[in-house]
């Protein structure tokens, strides 16, 4: 079994103090030959991973070339979304494939949701300690 890596909760809104602390995970994404490092919000309530439009552009993805259209829900329902597969590295762990709903929305956090971030990684939240731990699922390289 892999050793877990521990990360602190970070401030999304400094005014809110402790109420504004959220579990953001630094993650390196690679699409074809381009990589970017982004902080993704661990969102157990999100059915899917969501990639903000600008991050996809920074990765070199071309909107018109992504032909799998997706329909998101909630506040994201008003924006078009398309499926995008990328390679992702968390900390010292081996790369995994993540499937994102690449949305036209820009002013949103990157969301790491049930499909398929939480299928690849086991997460343990210690909110009272303002920390969380990440480890790859059992049986992974």
């Amino acid at each position: 079994m892999h050793n877990a890596e521990r990360y602190p909760f970070t401030a999304a809104d400094a005014i809110l103090g402790e109420a504004g602390l959220q579990p953001y995970l630094p993650i390196a994404l690679t699409y074809q030959d381009r990589s970017v490092t982004v902080s993704g919000l661990l969102d157990t309530g999100a059915m899917v991973n969501v990639l903000p439009y600008q991050v996809g552009i920074d990765l070199g993805a071309v909107w018109e070339q992504q032909t799998t259209e997706l329909r998101l829900t909630g506040n994201l329902a008003q924006f078009e979304a398309r499926g995008l597969l990328v390679s992702a590295v968390v900390g010292q762990f081996a790369p995994v494939r993540l499937a994102f709903a690449w949305t036209r929305a820009t002013n949103i956090p990157m969301l790491l949701g049930q499909v398929n971030f939480f299928m690849e990684f086991d997460i343990c939240f210690y909110r009272s300690q303002l920390a969380f731990e990440v480890r790859p699922k059992e049986g992974s390289a």
Partner: protein, 73 residues
């Protein structure tokens, strides 16, 4: 936990001073509460919490063979 020295110092205050400390603390707590939820503020929730169809589509993408020369590394 409140340090014992602080409690002892507070206990040594007279009645007027204690009331003043109380007033200051209550006022500061009220201000902090006001920052937590602003009446005119909007708090968008971006989570697509019931996007089952999108989740199913993404799972199928993951299972499909990658096109030649288009694999992410």
């Amino acid at each position: 936990m409140i340090p014992v020295e602080l409690l002892n110092s507070l206990r040594s205050l007279n009645r007027v001073e204690k009331l003043h400390v109380l007033q200051v603390l209550v006022s500061e707590l009220a201000q902090e509460e006001a920052h937590l939820l602003r009446p005119e503020g909007t708090y968008p929730i971006w989570s697509p919490y019931d996007a089952h169809e999108a989740a199913d589509t993404l799972l199928k993408m993951l299972k499909a063979p990658e096109p030649e020369g288009h694999a992410q590394r």
